[in-house]
Chain length 280, copies 2
């Protein structure tokens, strides 16, 4: 495994592999890897010849009052996990080479980014689409692997890649959870012991909603208020509980076909998100 | 020469050439080709193995009251000019395949797009950067050739390509002019005979300003009012006369180093642009 910090070197290495007919699988991350990331890496290893993990805490996707500076970083552990998982390259650029002085180009996906996390984090997705457009141009992977836990992000990036005629297939993999159901996230380590034991309530509320919907309940407002009342006791603040379609991420009134049930809530000072997809 | 309308087919053709180690040169156009475009094509032919001309009147770069519908189209003549010039491929997509239903991704270059034409055509450059990002992803050229006549466009696209880590070198070629100095433009054919004979005044005013600057005059306001007073008699409206630096396109007060002197003015109902670069 090699750890490369230079954009130019990363490009040259991968061009050489591509010239030899090797396929490239890519897992973009902000580091602090957990089993969710590693499930993506294993799939990349299985499906492509060269696997690349990027580790870049992207300042452009954090709001001014968000946790960019305190976001956990642990490169030594990440490198060791990647090595064990058989990763070919870690791409580990610094912010100055990704956004040099005078940087001024931004990619935006309209519509899809306005609901859900787009409401509470207004510039977040522009930061995500911009950095991933750059990463896709640097890595030029055949496949990029994303987790279902960041459902809106995955749908937005799939749209971006298609709209901009990029050659990367997007593979979305199931959310990996702790034994008690909490979705794995680098931010879980912010939680105190009490918060950690309360946090699985979010997924339990989603599961109960899923059971209701599958058994025929199509009333989104009722489903949402059911989830809210279960989460409220453990949440300092609920950013949203939403039922949306999985294509355009528009709020559904009557649940029909495939629906994404998504939650963003603060447990103490930590913002957690989770979601399930159900079909009625 | 082949004319391809399908994005997928265009990609596959060029991948095959690339696999054989051939380089690709690209000239993006809105068709209605003139000697300016052909100078770009000849340079592409000289420097790269496979030359691609795109012909696409891009709706996204026209404002709601602009000339998208009446913009001149002449595919038969364009194809014949390209064939004679030795072009390998014309890429000639339709608007529905470039912007299918649900299209939602836009690329924006901030800062550089706010002055000059960005003032009078507020969404124009977002349309240009979006379509060229798509074209660069489809064609993946080693080099893209642009004309100095659209100076701001060339600088914006160079910034975009660099910022987004695209692998295309941008080559900017001198403005090609009619014998009387009028910059070649597809829009010149809108001009009546009287307007056509008045139009070279714009370039003459620029040239005179250039002589003054080279001889030491650094007073931008004086230079601008000199150009304005020469153009005013032949212009229905002047959108701007500006003196800006060539890096960030910011207005200069005292002309120092390299300056772009740029004009956009309406001759009758036709909006013409022209510019020169001078060094003081």
């Amino acid at each position: 495994m090699r750890i490369l910090r230079s954009i130019g070197l990363m490009k040259r290495e991968l061009s050489a592999h591509r010239r030899k007919g090797r396929t490239v699988g890519f897992v973009p991350t902000m580091g602090c890897l957990h089993e969710g990331h590693l499930s993506l890496v294993r799939r990349a290893r299985k499906e492509t010849d060269i696997s690349v993990v990027s580790i870049f805490v992207n300042p452009a996707q954090f709001g001014p009052k968000e946790d960019y500076l305190r976001y956990p970083r642990d490169m030594k552990r990440d490198a060791s996990l990647c090595r064990k998982a058989g990763v070919s390259y870690i791409f580990y650029p610094d912010a100055k080479s990704m956004y040099p002085a005078g940087y001024s180009t931004y990619v935006r996906v309209r519509g899809l980014t306005e609901n859900l996390c787009g409401r509470s984090r207004p510039s977040h997705f522009e930061g995500v689409t911009t950095v991933v457009a750059k990463l896709l141009n640097i890595i030029r992977p055949d496949r990029m692997y994303l987790g279902q836990k960041d459902a809106q992000q995955a749908i937005v990036l799939k749209r971006m890649s298609g709209d901009l005629d990029m050659d990367t297939d997007i593979v979305i993999m199931p959310t990996v959870r702790e034994k008690d159901g909490l979705a794995m996230s680098s931010r879980n380590r912010y939680l105190s012991a009490d918060e950690r034991s309360a946090a699985p309530t979010i997924y339990r509320a989603l599961q109960e909603a899923g059971v209701l919907i599958k058994s025929g309940n199509g009333d989104a407002a009722g489903i949402i208020s059911g989830i809210r009342s279960k989460i409220r006791p453990i949440a300092a603040k609920i950013d949203y509980v939403s039922v949306v379609d999985t294509k355009e991420l528009k709020d559904m009134k009557n649940i029909k076909g495939e629906a994404l049930i998504a939650v963003a809530a603060w447990v103490g000072k930590t913002r957690l998100i989770d979601n399930i997809i159900v079909r009625r």
